[in-house]
């Protein structure tokens, strides 16, 4: 198991929600959902794509796109070194893996964010790959699904990260104009610039249960208003209640729900 899935290495894992000790295979066989309390553990992007495409099969797209460290950014560590570390640990995909395959035998592009790669943060690579994904869908009249899992824009690429929000939203505007379906799937966590752009722009917005979804992070809000936040604030069910989501869907039903919904639009 790779780090960043909410599940430590080893044969046994502990559910971060109910504390149950689970045999690793038990969780994996259950799509990484706790069999005791239904807590959804975080998936890697490749686990996500495999869980959604027919026969777990898909072709990875645009995986050579790499960041160039445009600002020469250095905090406690150089961004260029950070990138190398994550590329070694997680893979070359940066914080987004794009796959083409089929859902219910219909060709579909799914882009899944990789939280393990710098908190799923969106820099130029994520923006570029999403724009390429939307353009492929425009070219071939495919539907697009984006599975968000991100802390927001990547600070290390400064303003260029912010501009990816505009770039991807503009590409989605084109899809809308050409009557091509785009379904946004929001998973834990989806915050910041990712929520304030493509994650909220689905023709349908569908979330997994209990996911943290918001514009500002809970800590920022608490510091601003100086009060504790109500229980369940910014969770999927809260957003559903406030009209921001079409559906909250258990991971076991997600693939079938996507197939049904895409079927309405095909």
């Amino acid at each position: 198991m790779k780090k960043g899935q909410g599940v430590p290495r080893g044969l046994w894992i502990k559910c971060d929600s109910c504390g149950a000790i689970l045999y690793h295979k038990e969780a994996a066989d259950n799509l990484h959902v706790c069999p005791k309390c239904d807590h959804h553990f975080r998936l890697t992007a490749s686990q996500r794509l495999a869980s959604l495409f027919d026969g777990d099969r898909y072709k990875v797209l645009f995986n050579r796109v790499r960041s160039t460290d445009p600002l020469g950014f250095v905090d406690s560590k150089a961004y260029s070194d950070r990138l190398k570390t994550y590329q070694k640990r997680i893979g070359p995909q940066d914080a987004l893996l794009v796959g083409q395959g089929e859902i219910d035998r219909g060709p579909t592009v799914i882009a899944a964010m990789e939280y393990g790669f710098m908190g799923g943060s969106m820099g130029s690579v994520v923006g570029e790959k999403l724009a390429l994904a939307a353009e492929r869908c425009l070219d071939r009249r495919f539907p697009l699904v984006i599975v968000s899992c991100s802390g927001g824009a990547r600070m290390q690429e400064g303003i260029l990260s912010l501009m990816q929000m505009g770039k991807v939203s503009a590409a989605l505007a084109r899809m809308r104009e050409k009557q091509l379906p785009y379904i946004s799937v929001l998973t834990d966590p989806t915050t910041g610039g990712v929520t304030a752009s493509f994650a909220m722009l689905g023709n349908l917005n569908i979330a997994e249960p209990g996911a943290l979804i918001g514009f500002a992070g809970p800590r920022v809000i608490e510091q601003t208003i100086r009060q504790t936040l109500p229980a369940g604030f910014q969770r999927s069910e809260f957003l559903l209640e406030h009209g921001m989501l079409d559906l909250v869907v258990h991971r076991h039903e997600l693939k079938e729900t996507l197939a049904t919904c895409l079927g309405y639009f095909r």
Partner: protein, 318 residues
Amino acid sequence: MATIVIPFLEPIENLRDKILELEMDTRKGIDNSSELDKTRREHEETVNRIFSSLTRWQRCLLARHPDRPYSLAYIHDIFTDFTEFHGDRRFGDDPAIVAGFARFGGEPVAVVGHQKGRDTAEKVRRNFGMPRPEGYRKAQRIMKLAAQFKRPIISFIDTPGAYPGIDAEERGQAEAIADNLLVMAGLPVPIIVVVTGEGGSGGALGLGIGDRILMAEHAIYSVISPEGCAAILWKDPARTEEAAEALHLTSPDLQQLGVIDEVLPEPFGGAHMDPGGMASTISDAISRHLKQLKKVRPDVLVARRYKKFRAMGTSTDR
């Protein structure tokens, strides 16, 4: 004058005070012309010295200068017949964003912009220029109205960021901003964006998609505030200046990164020293760009706008 003293501007302000005093003496009939000349020269040299080597953090302080002109001041200077329109028709009216129609060189245009408050009461009323969802939705309503009647849109950016509060989240802050990005990308009329002060992240971008992005010389535009960045990446709020340096958030930075089209030079000593002068520079720039954009067919305009944002960012596939 400023109630909050910005340390690096103090020598300039002291010399200005001295000039004012000497001028007063002159009016009383005291002959001090040589000292006045000397002080004026010293003032000019000091301004030049300080402004020729501004750090990025100093530009942040200028962008947030308490006397810096805000959107409504520019709107009144640049346009005629401005009528402010209110409300998002969904929930309420957000005073942190102003929107309306006006005339520019005689021709009707739509105007939207963030609005900060000047005194304490207005600051609170306008929520320090931090919009809630209804502000973005009001702006979108006015921009769509502009598209319906084929009027260009001028957008003024000046916000620390979208408001991070419980009510804003409940009413879909993220959705409100996201939808503006999508809608602005497709409006078939010219959109000119002018970053006049603080371009605070998504809260700024929510009014920031356009055919031309212009930026006042000492304005800033950033993915996160230097304070926020220091707290997260350095885990130390004291390292804000370092964060400001690393973020590349000034107008020359953004021009070099291909995010903005033009830097609008500020009056001597900054926009707050001569708001009218800054307004006239902005007005000239709007006029120039509007002239070009009005010649472009609407579908070509939208296609070029897409290309413009599509090209932002740097990556390699080799």
